[in-house]
């Protein structure tokens, strides 16, 4: 009995110390990314290449998802609003839902699944095949050459992807509400224009997507960089990227929203 209890305590202690160690290692990596900030932007070609890999190649899945999300919002919104005789407010509902919440959050979740996993797997495999060690031995910092450009590419891509998500989502909502259901075209756009505030709605969405860009990129990069250099290690790291990014995005969204609403 005592032996089993001590085994449980040892296991718990090991998990706690590993968790603390990983937070510390992640913070150190984050610090080094800032140390190499200037060096990263001296080579814009690397960042542009990574923006293509993470941002442009994620466009299709994000835009298609946005269109469907917008259409669902249009349907659900109309279904509820017509009960209160305010179906013209469908444009506001779709726009605010997308700009404030669904745009940044769903984009971040899709980004974690599409680009985050690719980043983790790529860096994990670079580590497993000693490419990062080779770089170190050539007196080239892997953080400056591999990690930092991917980080900044993620941070730059996320707000743009979220903005495009919201835009296409609104078009999806319009497609369902106006041509299919028959809501008035002018009411759809004018109510949206009148009730969506640039600072309170759009800027808050941009801030959220920037924070999600930092968090998702950082988790994907750290998981790859910290992955044990084996097939199993890389596969576990890739899974952790999706799980941790998704949980972090949802939790941080709640925290940010609570601050934004109280302000």
């Amino acid at each position: 009995m005592l032996k089993r209890l001590s085994g449980v305590l040892v296991g718990l202690g090991h998990r706690v110390t590993t968790g603390i160690w990983r937070i510390g290692a992640g913070a150190r990596l984050f610090f080094y990314i800032w140390v190499y900030l200037i060096e990263s932007f001296k080579r814009p070609g690397l960042i542009v290449r990574e923006i293509f890999a993470t941002g442009v190649l994620s466009l299709l899945i994000i835009l298609v998802s946005a269109f469907f999300v917008g259409m669902v919002l249009g349907l659900q919104g109309y279904n509820t609003l017509q009960k209160y005789g305010s179906s013209e407010a469908i444009g506001v509902l779709v726009a605010l839902s997308l700009v404030r919440e669904l745009g940044p959050v769903v984009t971040a979740l899709l980004f974690a699944g599409r680009a985050g996993t690719a980043i983790t797997a790529e860096i994990g495999l670079m580590k497993a095949t000693e490419q990062l060690s080779a770089m170190e031995m050539m007196a080239v910092s892997p953080v400056a050459r591999v990690i930092a450009p991917r980080f900044w590419a993620g941070v730059i891509s996320m707000p743009i992807l979220a903005a495009l998500f919201s835009m296409v989502g609104v078009l999806g909502g319009y497609f369902v509400a106006v041509p299919i259901i028959g809501v008035d075209d002018g009411a759809f756009w004018s109510q949206m224009q009148a009730n969506v505030d640039f600072r309170d709605d759009i800027m808050n969405g941009v801030i959220k997507s920037l924070v999600f860009g930092v968090v998702c990129s950082m988790i994907a990069l750290f998981e790859g960089y910290d992955a044990p250099p084996t097939a199993e290690g890389v596969s576990r790291a890739t899974t952790r990227t999706v799980v941790n990014s998704s949980l972090a995005v949802l939790a941080i969204d709640f925290i940010l929203t609570s601050f934004m609403i109280s302000v």
Binding site: E130, Q131, S133, A134, M138
Partner: protein, 268 residues
Amino acid sequence: MSDNIVEIDNLSFGYKGRLLHKGINMVFPRGKVVAIMGGSGSGKTTLLRLIGGQLKPNVGEVRVDGKVVHEQSREGLYQLRRKMGMLFQFGALFTDLSVFENVAFPIREHTDLSESMVRDFVMLKLNAVGLRGAHSLMPTELSGGMARRVALARAVALDPQIIMYDEPFAGLDPISMGVVCNLIRSLNDALGATSIVVTHDVHETFTFVDYIYFVSDGIVVAEGTPDELRNSEMPFVHQFVHGEADGPVPFHYPAPDYKNEMLRGRDA
């Protein structure tokens, strides 16, 4: 200036409670090709990582060009590494870059040469390893031997003073093996560099190196020129050089008594 470009002094290194090296002393004279030999898991590759400053010794020190490696700042360490080239076991080529770009990588990172000069340098190095014609291929299009040669061209791209080879013959066919042997020797002599070759391929290594260290159980068990070691009567050297299955290096991993273990299995 010391005659030895690399000196390992009373080095002990271990991790997770296991001591891999127990007071190792080695010297690597300038201009020589020196091999470090020993069985799998004897810590040969770890020695290269200690020389390159990727690991820190628990006790003792490694000096490269008179400087203690683990006492260097990050910048100092990077300056030391610019004097080194390393060939990794499976090449470690950057898979997203072509052969040309792989060899150009260290040149682009550490010099401000014009594009035409970079091209000349890269073609020169690729020609030296016989792969000038493969400059536009991607690493995935290369055979194991070709990848190793491209990695060698990349390792010597900046004419390093020290070239380290981690198992350069692993998985190569006899022709590629002969090619790599000749390249190690000829590049070393042409560049006036010092080569450190970590390997367990006895026959190939004995044909081109100047000096050999045998490592086993964390210590240097024998050292000498190929001729001295070929004629050595030391049991370990004899077993290793002649590829005998059993001897000072046992065939069996430590285990309880065979008979007792089998009988216990039957009871269970």
